[in-house]
Amino acid sequence: MDSLNEQFGQIYDQYIDKIYRFVYLKVNSQEIAEDITSKVFIRGWEAFQNPKEEIKNPGAFLYQIARNAVVDHYREKGRTNVISADASPEIADPGTDAQDKAVLSADINIIKKGIQKLEKEHQDIIIWHYLEDMPIANIAKLLDKPAGTVRVMLHRGLKDLKDIIQEA
């Protein structure tokens, strides 16, 4: 049991920032990001303790829970990502110092909102690849798509993001 605690503690330390950031960029609210991230790690911990669950890749597993949790959040609230981004023209929360630094620049803020207007899968791929430095091959595994498809989606996502930003 202690060993399980220790193992999950390490996974937690490794992924808490990544999962929070992933969720935050999708919901644009510190409060909601904290709630959803909490749920992600609770579900992760429950699965981790379950001997029937075989978790080969904890990161992929947590991201998958996070994706579903965000979808559930928008389904429950009857909102879409696009509406959420439009409804919050300013930064939703003052956030932490680090967060403040990240969003101080107006350009960064525009990019953040641009990400929220992207298609869901494009969002995921851009966040994973450019923010989390995840290789294309890993993203392909995570999405269960060929690497070539992911590469094309990444390219399209970036182009869409550029268009969105330039229209802003």
Binding site: D17, S38, L158
Partner: protein, 254 residues
């Protein structure tokens, strides 16, 4: 926005790496998730409750805010909250235990405390406790928890003994209480696979209850059928078949 290159976008995306969760929230979440006996989560509110905040605002704040408001050092507030949640969790869980379970004594303490708080003392408390213990026994028998049956029977037996003693010491009881005891004894007799009819305490209590019920019914106006059933109950009583007599009496009461 003016023209922007993909390279600039990628550079800007890199800056978003600075987005991180609040450290105290992350630490608290980790400790809560990995805590051995509680899964209760508390989200730390970003804004602290200010001293001059109106009462309404304090009420709507998170529990951690309120505790932080009371206990200035946050660590103390978190420890207090953890202990509080642990106690609530244990008592909450104990409600669903049955005799023989580890937390059953906690359930008994909770019941006693509740009885004291609601002013339910003496014989009335014994009656309520007996009813709970019979429910426990019934649940144990229904769910086939064979390991718990001896403990459940022992609990019922001990409560019946207390109640019988209490009734002996305080014979002047209202008829409603006697009826409640009679119903409990009937429920006990109906619990499948746990025949306590020969238990001396159950016999004693049944005798007292039947005696009082017969005395009460004799003062009541009865139909011919009811009179016949009462006679039958009296016969059974004189033969020492108190539980059978009780069944007959309950038939009249219906």
């Amino acid at each position: 926005m003016a023209k922007i290159t993909q390279k600039q976008i990628i550079e800007s995306l890199n800056q978003l790496k600075e987005i991180k969760p609040r450290n105290e929230w992350a630490v608290l979440l980790k400790s809560q998730i990995l805590a051995p006996s509680t899964k209760i989560l508390v989200r730390i509110e970003k804004k602290q409750v200010e001293l001059e905040a109106p009462i309404k605002q304090v009420k709507s704040a998170g529990i951690m805010d309120v505790l932080s408001f009371i206990f200035a050092p946050k660590k103390l507030a978190y420890s207090f909250a953890a202990v509080l949640f642990l106690i609530v969790g244990v008592f909450g869980f104990a409600r669903y235990t049955v005799p023989g379970d580890l937390l059953f004594p906690v359930k008994k303490i909770a019941e006693q405390s509740q009885a004291t708080l609601t002013g339910q003392t003496g014989l009335k408390q014994d009656v309520a406790t007996l009813s709970s213990r019979i429910n426990d026994l019934s649940q144990v028998a229904k769910e086939g928890k064979t390991n718990n049956i001896p403990s459940a029977i022992s609990e019922v037996s001990a409560n019946v003994k207390d109640l019988a003693q209490n009734l002996k010491n305080n014979p002047a009881q209202d008829q409603q209480t006697i009826k409640e005891i009679a119903n409990s004894l009937k429920t006990l007799a109906d619990v499948p696979g746990t025949d306590l009819s020969q238990n001396s305490y159950v016999q004693d209590l049944s005798q007292m209850v039947v005696q009082r019920e017969i005395a009460d019914l004799q003062k009541t106006t009865l139909t011919d059928d009811q009179k016949n059933v009462l006679t039958e109950a009296q016969d059974l009583y004189s033969q020492g078949k108190y539980q059978d007599a009780l069944v007959q009496i309950l038939l009249i009461s219906k």
